[in-house]
Symmetry: C2
Subunit: 646 residues, 2 copies
C-alpha cells in the first residue's frame, strides 16, 4: 500500500482551491444555487427518485454522473484532508442515492422518474451504464477516503444486477453503453473488492463492443429508429462516434467522440495489464501512438472538431475551431496512467504532464468558479460571438454548463493528483517518479517501508530533491523521469556529490541500498524554448510556440496588441524570463523580440498592393503560461505565433 | 436602346460553353436526366401542376426557380444567338408554365401539388414570391430576347394577383418574402411594361421589410411556431437571416444570408435610382461599403460562414471554412451594376470585375458540367472529407446539387454578360466602359447612333482598343475605367498619338466629336503584383496573394507540393510570367521564388524544439489563375501564401 500526500507550492494552491472553493461551489451548483447559471437538478432528481419530493426530472439524461463525480472528488479530498462537515453532507447524499436504488439494485433517476419500465432500451443515448460507472468510481473513492462501505455496497448491488442483465449467455442483453465509462469503473470495483465477476463484466463490455451486427444500431432499429435527442425518425447512429465501428482489438486510429474514446482506451489498458492480452496491448499502443503522435494539441488537448466533440483525422489540429474538451484531456491522463501501469515508459508521463499543466488546469479560472469546456489555442472573442463556426469556443470561462461534465471532472482529478506522482514496481523494487510534485510518500516493500519526501520547484524552476526518510533492508531503484522538455540533459547528485546515471525507457535509474537521510537532487534544466510543429499540421505552418518546462505559453491581447496576428516573433531574438509576482498568483513570464505589422496607413480597403508601407516595426512581446489565459478580462489569445523569417 | 454583342477571345469560349453545353446540360438536369446526380424534378413538378402527369412534388420548395433561371438564360442566349430548336423547347416550357397557372394568376408547383389552400401562409420558408420573381426575370429576358410576350403576360397576370394580396391597404397581407428576389424582378417588369403598379409593389416590399412587429415572426406564431424545414415546434426565426431585423433604410451592415442580402440591395439601388429616395441611397452606399470594404474575399466572394450561408462580421474572412457562394457573388455583380446605374464610380465596376473573373467563372469547371456552390480560398481535400466543419467545402466540382441555385445562376449571368460592359449616360452624353470585353456595341443618342468595336486582350494582356464605327452629330464622352489593379498608370492614344486624359470618379474621360474610323487605344499595364490584406483580417496575417490584372492567382498541389502550407513565397524574388498554352484552355502562369520547410527529418512526433534542422530550402513555385483551380484532379489549393520575412 502506498500513502502519498501533496505538499507543493504550486499544487497546494490547487488542492486547496478544490477543497475550499470548487467542492463547495459545485455542491451549490448540484443544488441549483448558482445565480445566472443553468440549474443542475442533480440533487433534486435524486430526491424525486427517492420519493422525497414530487416533480419532473431535470437536466441532462446523464445528470446523475455530475453528482457521482462530485462524490468521487469528495472521497479523494477526505482522504488527504478530513472534514467532518463535508463528510456529513456526503453521507447524507449517499443515503439519498441508496434511497433512490430499486429493489433489484438499479439506480438511475431519469428512468426512475421519467421512463420507468424502459430501462436498458436505449443504451445508445441514455447513459445508464455510464452513470453507473461514475457512481462506482465514487463508491471506490469514498470507501478508500473514509473507510465507509455504504456506497460501495450499494454499487456492488447495482453491479451484480447489471451482471444479470448483460452478457453473452442466452437471455441476456448483448449490449454495451453508448458512452464508455463503466468498463474502467468495474476494474476499480474489482480491484477494491476482489470480486472477479466485475473484472469479467468489464471484459465482456470491452470484448462485445464493435462486434457485428452492431448492437447499438440493432437497438435503434428495434426502437423504431428513434433517438432520445431528437424528435421523429432519426439517422442511423454512426458507430465510429462511440467507437463501436470495429472490435476494440482491431482499432488502430482514434475516431469519434474523444471522451468516449479515451475512457475506453483506459479500460483497455487496465484489462491488458490484468490479463496480459496481447491483442489488447497492441491496440492500446497503437491507439496511444495515434492520439499522441497524430492528433494531440501541444497543450495536451484532444478532439479537433466540435461536431460530435470528436477526433477528426491525423494532423488536423486547427487552433481556432478546436474542441479539446477538458474531460477529454482528463481521460487522456487516465489513459496515460494506465499505460504506465502496463509498461514503464516516460512518454506516457510526458503526455500526462503536458495535459495536466496546460489543458486541464487552464480550463479552470484562478478563482475556481469558472470553467472552459472547450480549450482553444487561438481566440478572437468577436469571432466566438459572431461566427457560428466558433460559437463553441468561449472567450471567457463560464459559471456552469447545462452539460456540466467538465467541472466535476477537474475536481476529481485535482483531488486525486497524489495518485499520479509515483508508480511502484514491486517485482523490480523500483519507485518511478512520473510527476515532479512536492509530496510525502510511503511505499511498502517486502522488506520494509520506503518513505521519501519530494520537493519540487516546478513549474517555475527545475530543481527537484528527494529526502529518504525511511528505508527497507534491500536496495531500491529510484527511477526519475527525464522530461521530454529537457532534451536529454539533467544533473543528478547524491548527498551533494554529482553522480552519473543510466537511462532506461526515459527514466534515470539510481539503484541503491538507501540510508535514512540520503538526499538526491535532480536538476532539470528549464529554459524557455521555441517549439516547431510537424509540417503536416497545416494550421501551424510558419509558426512556433513557446514552452518552458512543462508549461506552454501564449500571448494575450492585454499584454501585447490587437490583432495579435499582426505580431511575428523572432526565434533568434533574446528571451527574458521574469518572475512576475503580481501576475495573478505569480508566474514566470517571458519577454521576447519580434515585429508588428504597421496598420496606421491602412484606409478603408481590404486589399492593396504590397509595398514598403506594408513594413513592420520591431516590437517586444510578453508571453504568459497558457493555463493563466483569460483570467484578466476578455481578449485575443494565441499559442502558435507567426515566425519572422522563412 | 443599346445593342451589344460580345466578340472576345476569352469570353467567347464562355458564352459558347453556356450556349452549347451549359444550357443543354442544365435542360437535361431539369428533366432528371443526369446520371449519378440528385434529380431536379423541376419539369416534372410543372407537368404535375399542369395536370399532365400524376405524382408527388419533388425537390426543394423553391425548385420552380431553377427552371426560371434556365429560361432567363435561354432568353439572353437567344438574343445574341438565335436557335430555333432551343426556342421551340423554351416555348413548350412556357406553355407548360402557363398551364400550371391558376385562374387567378397564381403559379407555384409546390403549393399547387402539395399544399393547395395554404398559399401565402409561410412566406418565411416557402419562397413563393422568390419563385415568382425569378419567373418574372425569365419573362422579361425571354421577351427581350425573342419578342415573344406569352411568358411576360403570364407573369404580369401573376404580378397583378400578387398586387391584390400584398400591401398596406386593409385586408391585404402586410408581408414580404423570406427570400428577397421579387423586389428586383418587379423593377424589371416595370421597366419593360411601364406599369407603375409593379414599381410600387416593389417599393412596398422594400419599405415593409423590417417594420415592427416583424411580419415573418408573427406569421411563425400564427402557424403555431412551425417551420417548413423541421418537424415540431421550432426556434423563433432570426430576422437578421433575411434582413428583416431593421427597416432597410436603417441598415448599415451586411448581415444574414448573403444571397438574400445582395438581391435586396440590388432592388434598393434600383429603387434609389428610380425614385431618388435619399434614405435608400445612403443605405445602399453604406451597405456597399460594408460588403466590399469589410466583408469581401479577394476573389469577390462574400459570406464567411456556411451557418446560414451568411455574412459573419467585419474582417472575419477565413479562407478554409469560407462560404462564398457562387450565387452571392452573382448577386454582388447585380448590386454593383445597379450602383453604377445610380452613380458612375469605378469602384463598383472594380468589384464587378473581381467577382466575375474569379469567384464566378471559377465556380464552373472548364467543361461547363461541374460546379462549386462554395468557393474556398484554401482547400485541404482530406479536411473537406474528414473534418465536419469543412464538409461544405468541396474539393472537386459537383455535377449538380439538391439545392441547385448556383449553376443556372452562372448560366444567366454569362449569357447576359453583354449588359455589364457599357453604361450610357444620355444626359451627360457619356459612354462608360466598365468591363474590357471585346464587343460590338451600338448606342442611340438624341442626335444619332454611336457604334464602337472594342477589342480586348484581357485578362492576359492589358491592351484594349476601340474603333469608332458610326457617330452622332455632337460630341460624345468615352469614359474608360482605370481598373484598381493598374495603380493609376495607363496610356491612352487616339489614332496612334498619345493623348492625355482627365480622371473623374475612376474613369479616364475623352470627350470628342468622333469621326468614323477613329481608333482609341487604352493600354493598361498588367503585371503580376503581390497583394497584402488589411491587418484586421486575422486569417491573412503574414500572407500575401498574387494578382495579375483582374485575375487572382493560387497555388495548387499538382504544380507544387503537399502540404502547400510548407511553402513560403519571397515577394522580393523575381516573378516570371509564362503564357502556358497547354494549361487547360491556355493561361498565363506565374513562377516565383520561395522556400519550403524541410520535413525529411521529422519522425513520429508532433512537436519538437525548433532547431537548425527545421531549416528551409529555396524552392520555386508556380501559380495559376484561381478560376482554373481544381480542373486537374483533386489536391490542395491556396490563394493566400505565407510570406517569407517578417
Amino acid at each position: 500500500m502506498e500513502k502519498i500526500r501533496i505538499r507543493d507550492d504550486f499544487w497546494d494552491r490547487y488542492t486547496a482551491l478544490v477543497r475550499e472553493t470548487v467542492i463547495p461551489y459545485q455542491w451549490d451548483a448540484l443544488n441549483d444555487r448558482i445565480e445566472d447559471a443553468a440549474p443542475s437538478y442533480a440533487i433534486r432528481n435524486f430526491r424525486i427518485a427517492a420519493g422525497l419530493e414530487n416533480g419532473e426530472f431535470g437536466g441532462m439524461v446523464f445528470q446523475d454522473s455530475d453528482l457521482a463525480k462530485w462524490l468521487e472528488a469528495v472521497g479523494y479530498s477526505l482522504a488527504s484532508h478530513p472534514d467532518p462537515k463535508l463528510e456529513c453532507i456526503a453521507d447524507e447524499v449517499i443515503d439519498l442515492v441508496a434511497m433512490a436504488q430499486h429493489e433489484n439494485g438499479y439506480i438511475n433517476t431519469y428512468f426512475t422518474i421519467k421512463e420507468p419500465g424502459n430501462e436498458w432500451t436505449n443504451l445508445h443515448d441514455c447513459h445508464e451504464l455510464y452513470c453507473a460507472g461514475h457512481m462506482m468510481e465514487a463508491a471506490v473513492a469514498y470507501y478508500q477516503g473514509t473507510g465507509k462501505r455504504k456506497l460501495l455496497e450499494v454499487m456492488c448491488k447495482f453491479a451484480d444486477h447489471i451482471d444479470t442483465i448483460f452478457g453473452t449467455d442466452e437471455g441476456k442483453l448483448q449490449g454495451y453503453c453508448g458512452h464508455q465509462e463503466i468498463e474502467l469503473a468495474l476494474v476499480k470495483l474489482f480491484e477494491v473488492t476482489g470480486e472477479s465477476r466485475y473484472l469479467k463484466l468489464s471484459q465482456y463490455f470491452i470484448d462485445q463492443r464493435g462486434q457485428e451486427p452492431n448492437y447499438l444500431i440493432a437497438e435503434w432499429e428495434r426502437r423504431g429508429r428513434t433517438s432520445y435527442w431528437q424528435e421523429g425518425v432519426t439517422a442511423k447512429p454512426d458507430p465510429r462516434y462511440n467507437q463501436s465501428h470495429l472490435p476494440v482489438r482491431e482499432q488502430r486510429e482514434a475516431v469519434g467522440h474523444s471522451v468516449r474514446a479515451v475512457y475506453m482506451y483506459t479500460a483497455m489498458a487496465d484489462l491488458a495489464r490484468l490479463t496480459g492480452d496481447e491483442g489488447l496491448i497492441t491496440a492500446c499502443r497503437s491507439l496511444w501512438n495515434n492520439v499522441t503522435k497524430k492528433q494531440m494539441y501541444i497543450t495536451g488537448g484532444i478532439g479537433s472538431t466540435h461536431h460530435g466533440e470528436a477526433f477528426s483525422f491525423d494532423y488536423d489540429l486547427p487552433n481556432d475551431t478546436i474542441y479539446a474538451e477538458t474531460c477529454a484531456s482528463i481521460g487522456l491522463i487516465f489513459f496515460a496512467q494506465r499505460m504506465l501501469r502496463l509498461e514503464r515508459k516516460s512518454e506516457y508521463a510526458d503526455v500526462m504532464e503536458r495535459a495536466l499543466y496546460n489543458n486541464v488546469i487552464g480550463s479552470m479560472s484562478q478563482d475556481g468558479k469558472h470553467y472552459f469546456y472547450v480549450n482553444p489555442l487561438e481566440v478572437w472573442p468577436e469571432a466566438s460571438r459572431n461566427n457560428p463556426g466558433k460559437h463553441h469556443v468561449k472567450s471567457v470561462r463560464q459559471k456552469w454548463f447545462g452539460c456540466s461534465c467538465c467541472p466535476p471532472n477537474v475536481a476529481r482529478l485535482l483531488s486525486s493528483l497524489n495518485d499520479y506522482i509515483y508508480l511502484v514496481d514491486q517485482s523490480e523494487r523500483t519507485v518511478y517518479v512520473n510527476l515532479y510534485i512536492g509530496s510525502e510518500a510511503s511505499f511498502k516493500l517486502s522488506d520494509g517501508g520506503f518513505s521519501i519526501k519530494q520537493q519540487s520547484a516546478l513549474p517555475w524552476d527545475g530543481i527537484v530533491s528527494f529526502d529518504i526518510e525511511s528505508v527497507p533492508v534491500g536496495s531500491v531503484t529510484l527511477a526519475l523521469r527525464l522530461p521530454s522538455w529537457c532534451s536529454g540533459k539533467a544533473e543528478l547528485s547524491l548527498n551533494g556529490q554529482p553522480i552519473s546515471y543510466e537511462m532506461k525507457d526515459g527514466y534515470a535509474q539510481i539503484t541503491n541500498v538507501w540510508q535514512q537521510g540520503d538526499h538526491v537532487e535532480w536538476n532539470l534544466p528549464m529554459q524557455a524554448q521555441w517549439i516547431a510543429a510537424h509540417p503536416f499540421i497545416r494550421a501551424n505552418a510558419g509558426k512556433v510556440a513557446l514552452q518552458r518546462g512543462p508549461l506552454v505559453y501564449c500571448l494575450e491581447e492585454i499584454d501585447n496588441l490587437s490583432p495579435l496576428s499582426s505580431l511575428s516573433v523572432s526565434p533568434s531574438g533574446k528571451l527574458v524570463e521574469l518572475d512576475d509576482r503580481d501576475l495573478l498568483s505569480g508566474a514566470v513570464v517571458i519577454q521576447g523580440e519580434g515585429f508588428a505589422s504597421s496598420r496606421a496607413d491602412w484606409e478603408e480597403e481590404l486589399y492593396r498592393p504590397l509595398s514598403d508601407s506594408n513594413s513592420v516595426k520591431p516590437m517586444n512581446w510578453k508571453a504568459v503560461p497558457y493555463y493563466l489565459w483569460g483570467n484578466r478580462g476578455e481578449g485575443e489569445m494565441s499559442v502558435w505565433l507567426r515566425r519572422a523569417g522563412n
